[in-house]
Every structure is written in structure tokens, then in C-alpha cells.
């Protein structure tokens, strides 16, 4: 960690500052600085939100696998795993912040909660999950904190206690017992965050690309792909590629690759069901994927496939693990991004029209919410198709927040005694 760590911290810190600056700019100007418009009302931010919810999965699934199913290989990396769960659960909620039109009214969510809104429930389960992950991390690290303390820059080491070997042993036992108790509570929440996040989208009948019971299972598969992959990367950064950790990496790589395969199976299964009838709104949504967004689809599938192959074959080399995990995460990121264009560019209000002997469905255009073009070169303000590409501000905020998150993650890793 030394020099490389410092350089990384500087880079991510600067990115974070850029993100905050961009966010302040967006707060001043309003969401018009994004490329979202009325016909396309959720974009990159919500994709990232869904993505971070997925990456948060790895942590607790790993931890509960140890304590519920007794998978001992995973034990050495458990603190890193649960810490990543905490960080990414927080990140997911953080990522929703720039998407909200009035962040100043955020408290209304709790002052006037609407139990039938799934967004409320998503915040509830994400918060509970974040808290549980934090507690879980603390419980696991308790003996080590007592032994070595938390080192905070400028302040120094805190919470270090003078403990005898016998006391330490007792602390370890207590920590183990508490972890065992916590795991069965945490596991349902680890499943719930993906399920509820999926349901935010899957319950919307007006959006055939999302609607259906299949979305929740694919979210879980995506989470079990991205989560362990992130844990692999984090563990490699913290613990390095050691001989005695090989079985751990191997297991994580297998879970990740297998989940990615299951994800692809369910995904293409959905494609076939849409394709077969060859007509209707479900089919139209699929065509939007295969025609207008083929490049994104190509990215998600080729990266996922490449990631599966690399992780399944090269799980015992450092470069193989890094490449495979990165490939899978990029694939999942693209998979999250493609949630939106086919959903929004299928205008839900369609009027059947019979005209000149032909019958078709007329897509009722939607006002953009912005006057575009100049007097001499006016551009349409009612559209039934919006070619969404994230604006520079959106990209800056997203990248900046990613820098912020990584900065925090690395700082915590250094501060906490996560190593044996």
C-alpha cells in the first residue's frame, strides 16, 4: 500500500471534488443540465443506483455463506466483504440524490410515507441493509480493534484497549457468536434489496420492458455476479494474491461466473418469449434493444461472456481474477444501463387508429419540457422518441461520485484493522 495507495487516494479524491462541484452546478441550474427529458425521465443516475445495489450484494452473501452454510474458505475476506456491502448500500442511496429534483425535500419521504410506493420500501431495506452491514463489520472486527485499534490520519490510533490473551480469546468467541446470530437476519435483507429494487421497475405495467416477475430473479443473478466480483477486486487490493487465499478467490470467481451464466440464460429466455409472438408491445421493446441499442447489448453480452470464460478458466492467476472481475462488472453496468432506453422509448400511451384502410397504433408524443432550436431552425418540442445520451454534467457527477465512493472505501480499509 504505500506510494501507490497515496496516488490512488489523490486521484479519487480529485474525482470526488469534481463530482461535488458538478453536483452543486446541477443544483443551481436544475436537472435541465442532464440529458433526461419528459419522455426519458430516468437515466444514468438510476442505472448507477441499480448497479450499486447489485454490487452491495457480495458482502453479506459472502458473510452469511460463512455463518449459515459453513463455507469456511470465505472466512479470511469476510470483513472486506461486509465493508463493501456497507459502502455500496450507502452509494446506492447517494446515487439517487442527484436524480431527485428537490433534494431539500428528501425528508418528506419519511414525514409523509406512502406504504404502497416501492421507492419508500427500497430506502427502508437499503438503510437497514447498510446498518446491518456496518454492525456486522464491527462485530467481526471487534477483537482486532481491541487489539490494534482504528488508525485515523491526523488523530492517531483510537479505541485500542489493553487486553490480555485470555480476554482477547473471549472477545473472539463473543464476536463469532454474534456474527452467527446476525447472519440469518442479514441474509433476507441481502435478498430483499435486489428484489425491492427490481420491483420498483417490474411492477410498472405501462413499461413492457420492465414489467413481469422475471426482473427480480435477474436482479439477484446480476447482484450475485457483480457482488463477488467486487469483493475479489477489493480483497486483491487489501490482502493481495496469496497462496492461502486461492480457494477463497476460486470460490468467489465460480459464484460470480455461474451467476452471470444464469443471468444470461434468464435474459435470453426473456428475449425468446418476446420474439416468438413477433408482435405487440413486449416485442417492440425487444426490437428497441436489438435495433437502436444493439451496441449496448453487444457490450453487456460480450463482456459478460468474456468475464465468465476468464473467471472460469483463470481463477488461479492474479491477472485472470482482475480481468474477469472487471469484465463482469462492466457487463453488469451495461446491463443496468440498458434497463432504460427500451423502457422509455416505447411511449406508453398509444392510440389504435384506423386510417386509409390501415390500422396501426399511434404513439402519442410527449412534450420535452424545453424549447429547442432557434427561431430560424426550430426543433420539435413534442417527441415520441428521445435519443438519450448522458450529458457531461451527468457523466461528471457519476464519475465523481464513483471517485468519492472509492476514496471512502480505501480510507476505511486503511483505517480499520481488516488484515489478520
Amino acid at each position: 500500500m504505500g506510494r501507490k495507495y497515496d496516488i490512488a487516494m489523490v486521484i479519487f479524491g480529485l474525482l470526488g471534488l469534481l463530482g461535488i462541484a458538478a453536483f452543486i452546478y446541477q443544483l443551481q441550474k436544475g436537472l435541465i443540465v442532464t440529458n433526461m427529458r419528459n419522455p426519458f425521465s430516468w437515466g444514468l443516475y438510476i442505472s448507477m443506483w441499480a448497479f450499486y445495489v447489485g454490487t452491495a450484494a457480495g458482502g453479506l452473501v459472502v458473510s452469511s455463506a460463512i455463518n449459515i452454510f459453513g463455507v469456511k474458505q470465505l472466512k479470511p475476506i469476510a470483513p472486506v466483504a461486509s465493508l463493501s456491502a456497507f459502502i455500496f448500500a450507502i452509494s446506492a442511496m447517494l446515487m439517487a440524490l442527484p436524480d431527485i429534483g428537490r433534494p431539500d425535500r428528501l425528508l418528506n419521504l419519511f414525514q409523509y410515507p406512502n406504504p404502497s410506493s416501492l421507492i419508500l420500501w427500497d430506502f427502508v431495506v437499503l438503510s437497514v441493509y447498510a446498518i446491518l452491514s456496518a454492525v456486522y463489520t464491527y462485530v467481526q472486527l471487534q477483537p482486532r480493534i481491541a487489539e490494534r485499534g482504528i488508525s485515523i490520519p491526523l488523530i492517531g490510533t483510537v479505541m485500542k484497549k489493553e487486553v490480555t490473551a485470555a480476554q482477547l480469546e473471549e472477545l473472539r468467541r463473543v464476536s463469532e457468536r454474534r456474527a452467527k446470530l446476525l447472519a440469518p437476519v442479514a441474509l433476507p435483507f441481502a435478498i430483499l434489496i435486489h428484489t425491492v429494487t427490481a420491483w420498483v421497475l417490474a411492477t410498472q405495467f405501462s413499461r413492457p420492458w420492465w414489467y413481469g416477475g422475471l426482473l427480480a430473479p435477474t436482479f439477484i443473478a446480476a447482484a450475485l455476479t457483480a457482488g463477488p466480483a467486487v469483493v475479489i477486486l477489493a480483497s486483491l487490493a487489501i490482502y493481495g494474491f496469496k497462496e492461502d487465499l486461492k480457494p477463497t478467490y476460486r470460490l468467489l470467481a465460480k459464484v460470480s461466473a455461474f451467476s452471470a451464466a444464469v443471468l444470461l440464460f434468464m435474459y435470453y429466455n426473456d428475449f425468446l418469449v418476446r420474439q416468438w409472438w413477433g408482435n405487440g408491445r413486449e416485442y417492440d421493446a425487444l426490437m428497441l434493444v436489438l435495433k437502436d441499442n444493439l451496441h449496448i447489448h453487444a457490450i453487456e453480452v460480450s463482456f459478460l461472456l468474456a468475464g465468465i470464460i476468464v473467471l472460469a478458466k483463470k481463477y488461479d492467476t492474479f491477472s485472470g481474477l482482475v480481468t474477469g472481475s472487471l469484465l463482469l462488472n462492466i457487463g453488469i453496468l451495461a446491463h443496468r444501463y440498458i434497463l432504460f432506453p427500451p423502457a422509455y422509448n416505447l411511449i406508453p400511451f398509444r392510440v389504435p387508429v384506423v386510417m386509409a384502410g390501415e390500422s396501426f397504433e399511434w404513439e402519442y408524443p410527449i412534450a420535452l419540457g424545453e424549447v429547442r432550436g432557434t427561431l430560424l431552425d426550430p426543433q420539435p418540442i413534442f417527441v415520441s422518441y428521445w435519443n438519450y445520451v448522458p450529458s457531461a454534467v451527468e457523466v461528471a457527477i457519476t464519475v465523481g461520485f464513483f471517485g468519492l465512493i472509492t476514496f471512502a472505501f480505501l480510507a476505511l480499509m486503511k483505517a480499520l484493522p481488516v488484515r489478520e
Binding site: W277, N279, G280, R281, Y283, P352, A356, G357, E361
Partner: protein, 332 residues
């Protein structure tokens, strides 16, 4: 396209060969007439080819056999045609739901014309088969802007489009039409993109060039996948041998239309293929006492049906499924 045809020809050639080996010549004739017990199938019938793959001569032979079968089973002399579709014609149907009085005359005219099974006096399980189902729906539920009751909401009454789930299939008042109801007759919608054709595992059902979906009753294996796939519930299955009294049989038959069906095969409305290909109207149209039914060539811009589509308020059932029916409902 050419290659496909070539492959088909080749395929046919192969099948011809098999047929020849199996059938041989006149020597085997008595063997071919042998009826397999229980299922009541002659070898000749069993080895018959798909309608579209038969030569003219083969068709003739098959027709002869079928006419003989009809004579033996039902005691009537019938004439089975294989009239080709007319050139430059795609049939379309239009129905004025404001005029329909729900008398079900079309239903029974169809049964009579198309030789559907009647209710057997001896066997209560043998029921009538109807190709047309008339659904009765409360008027207020379909017609925007009328007075009276309707879809109740907290804020008042809302008028909505047709919801077939609200319909009554077995309405039986003293007198039709009842004032506050409308009637929607539903039969095969002859889709341009028919899901039933797509699911058939044996190509026993297909769309003819005049747009009508037909079934080869000698090729259907009775798996009923098409019935599951049809969004209009337009197909019927012969759960047993149809019951037809001798004097009620319509002897003017078409191979793909109204010839008497076998047990265990699927049947459906063909817009009366045996009539329309000879320039006559379907039987249901002729039976309608109020002139609610219109029929014509969709390819002819001057036809009555095209005028209706251009000028009236037209809708099709389950438009959102994209099956593109050629059966149009309209209001004045």
C-alpha cells in the same frame, strides 16, 4: 425462394416414393381399404398426403374416397370441391355492433351451412358446435357518452371500452334485443398474423392466398395447441364423432371448409370458403335480419368493406396483440 421451392419439390418426390412403395398399385387396393378397428381409419386414409402436396390427380382420388366415406357414414350423396382461391382477393368482414340485435340467427345459419355437429337426442354428451359466439355486454360499458349505469368509481361513473370479461355468453331473455345491452358476435378473425398457424406442429392449418385460415381435417393430429394460442377462442375441437341427421346435411362441401369433420380434429370458421370462392356471401351474413354484417374484398378500394373502414368508427378486437385481424367491428 426458389431454393425453398426446390427443396419442397425434392421433399415431395421422396414422399411420393415412400407412398408408392407403401401403396403399390391396384393389387393392394383391398388392403388399402382395410379399416383399423377402434380408431376407424382405413389404411388409405392413414397414408393420405398433406393437401398442399397433393397433385390434381391425387386430390381427385382422395375426394372420391371422401365422398364414399360420407355415403357410408351419413347416407348422403355429397359433392366435395377444392375450388382455388380467387386471384387478387383478400376477404374482410365488418360488423356493425350498433345494429346487431343478438338474435343468434347467424350462429344457427352457420351450423346449418357448415355441417357442424348437432345435439344428439340419444347421447347427451354430443353437443352442438358453434363457430360464432355472441357475447352480451351492458351498453353503458362500451359506448362513451350514454346515460345510465356503467363502471362505478368513487367519483362517478366512467365509460370504458369493451371488456370481454364483463360479457354474458349464455344470455337468454324472452326477447332480444334488450334495451341496455349490446351484442358482439365473435368468430374467427382471420388474422393476418395468425398465432394458431405458427404453433401448429404439423402445418395442418395455414393461411390461404385469399386471407382465410383453413384446416386440413385429414392432417390435423388434434393436439389443440392452436386452441391454446388463439386470442379469440375461435377454434373448436371434435371431442367425439359429430352427430348429423341425414336430412340436415348440406351436400355442397369444400375440402378445406364445411365437409363433415372427423372425431379428434380441430375446426373453425372459414368465412364459408365453399360459398365465397364462388362469388356468394357467407351464410351468417345472409342470415342477419338487420344487415349488421358486411363482407368484401379488402384489396378492392371501391368495395363496401373498404368504405366502411375509411368512413366509420372501426375497431378490432385485441389490437394490442398485433395479430391484425381482418374482422372489423364498427359503429355508425
Amino acid at each position: 425462394m426458389d431454393r425453398k421451392k426446390e427443396a419442397q419439390d425434392k421433399d415431395m418426390g421422396r414422399r411420393d416414393f415412400i407412398k408408392k412403395v407403401a401403396v403399390g398399385s391396384a393389387v393392394t387396393a383391398p388392403l388399402m381399404n382395410f379399416q383399423i378397428p377402434i380408431v376407424r381409419v382405413s389404411l388409405d386414409e392413414l397414408l393420405q398426403k398433406h393437401f398442399k402436396e397433393m397433385s390434381e390427380e391425387e386430390k381427385k382420388r382422395v375426394i372420391e374416397r371422401l365422398e364414399k366415406e360420407h355415403r357410408e357414414r351419413y347416407g348422403v350423396d355429397v359433392k366435395i370441391k377444392t375450388t382455388e382461391p380467387l386471384k387478387g382477393v383478400v376477404w374482410g368482414y365488418a360488423l356493425n355492433i350498433k345494429r346487431c340485435i343478438g338474435c343468434r340467427r347467424c350462429v344457427y345459419a352457420c351450423v346449418k351451412e357448415n355441417n357442424q355437429s348437432r345435439a344428439s337426442p340419444e347421447d347427451p354428451t354430443v353437443g352442438e358446435i358453434h363457430w360464432i359466439r355472441v357475447v352480451e355486454i351492458e351498453k353503458a360499458k362500451i359506448e362513451p357518452g350514454t346515460e345510465g349505469t356503467d363502471f362505478r368509481t368513487k367519483f362517478g361513473d366512467v365509460k370504458v371500452g369493451i371488456s370481454l370479461e364483463e360479457g354474458e355468453h349464455y344470455y337468454d331473455p324472452e326477447k332480444v334485443p334488450e334495451k341496455e345491452y349490446i351484442y358482439i358476435p365473435i368468430q374467427c378473425q382471420q388474422c393476418e398474423k395468425p398465432p394458431c398457424v405458427k404453433v401448429c406442429p404439423t402445418k395442418a392449418t395455414w393461411k390461404e392466398p385469399d386471407g382465410v385460415i383453413v384446416v386440413d381435417y385429414n392432417w390435423c393430429i388434434g393436439c389443440r395447441y392452436c386452441m391454446a394460442a388463439c386470442p379469440y377462442w375461435a377454434r373448436r375441437f371434435n371431442w367425439t364423432w359429430p352427430y348429423l341427421p341425414k336430412d340436415e346435411i348440406n351436400p355442397d362441401m369444400h375440402y378445406l371448409g364445411n365437409r363433415i369433420r372427423y372425431r379428434g380434429v380441430v375446426e373453425k370458421c372459414t368465412f364459408c370458403i365453399q360459398r365465397t370462392r364462388e362469388g356468394r356471401y357467407p351464410a351468417c351474413l345472409e342470415a342477419c335480419p338487420v344487415g349488421a354484417r358486411k363482407f368484401g374484398n379488402l384489396l378492392d378500394p371501391e368495395s363496401e368493406i373498404r368504405k366502411i373502414i375509411d368512413e366509420k368508427r372501426v375497431f378490432r378486437l385485441k389490437e394490442e396483440l398485433g395479430t391484425e385481424p381482418k374482422f372489423f367491428y364498427y359503429m355508425d
